[in-house]
């Protein structure tokens, strides 16, 4: 029987956007745990996904640790997040 669509090709096309969705899930309720883990144990993360300094103020993107925390959280979420796993 002829297939109306090629599942493998669809999955191939979706691989990049799905990976991006998983990485960006660190800013959502579903993936915030990856951001929390990347900031742990030195910083806290609030409900809005802001990284908090010890005095409770928001960490700015110029902070020396900011990029490494975000990168690490995104890398882990890209590999482990359940976003889109049902495809």
């Amino acid at each position: 029987m002829t297939k109306l669509w090629d599942e493998e090709a669809i999955l191939k096309k979706l691989a990049v956007p799905l990976k991006a969705a998983r990485e960006n899930s660190i800013y959502s309720d579903e993936g915030r745990i990856f951001l929390v883990a990347a900031a742990f144990p030195n910083y806290e993360v609030d409900k809005e996904g802001n990284i908090l300094l010890k005095n409770g103020s928001k960490m700015s993107s110029n902070h020396p640790d900011y990029e490494s925390i975000i990168e690490s959280a995104k890398k882990q979420a890209g590999n482990e997040s359940s976003v889109g796993r049902s495809f």
Binding site: V36, N42, E44, S72, Q76, N79, E80, S82
Partner: protein, 145 residues
């Protein structure tokens, strides 16, 4: 499931960790959700650490009458050390050993324990050696109360 997922994995590591396999260093095993903000922090210069957190919880309903569910819970086992790559490697082997030792369940709380993804998250600039392991707890045919 009688025990909550993180409690269960924490118990396996607390009871099963053989310090002889990790240079006589037993890591501090912590559920990330129980650490109070501003409370006692993890000091990696004094001790290695295993941090645990749940990342997904799914229920499948395979039965015709929808009276049972298969439950799959993903837990991340996040191993951290500042003692170098070799120490992290030993911790990884011990994590794998403990997970695989319980692969067929414990007869009470869960039925399968699967070792899934491994992600290297080491940060050389901070001398932090970090590896995360995704572990799946599977409970078959749990009766819906």
């Amino acid at each position: 499931m009688a025990l909550e997922s993180l409690e269960l994995i924490k118990g396996l590591f607390d009871d099963g960790w053989n310090r002889a396999n990790s240079s006589q260093r037993k890591p501090t095993i912590q559920d990330i959700t129980t650490v109070e903000p501003g409370g006692k922090r993890l000091d990696l210069s004094r001790s290695d650490a295993i941090v645990l957190y749940e990342t997904a919880h799914n229920e499948e309903q395979p039965e015709v009458f929808y009276d049972f569910v298969h439950t799959r819970i993903n837990v991340t086992v996040d191993a951290r050390t500042m003692e170098g790559r070799a120490q992290l490697s030993k911790m990884e082997d011990e994590v794998r050993r403990i997970i695989h030792a319980s692969r067929k369940g414990d007869g009470a709380n869960f039925d399968r324990l699967l070792y899934k993804t491994r992600t290297d998250l080491s940060d050389r600039t901070k001398r932090l050696h970090r590896m995360t392991f995704q572990v799946e707890i599977v409970i078959f045919s749990e009766l819906i109360a």
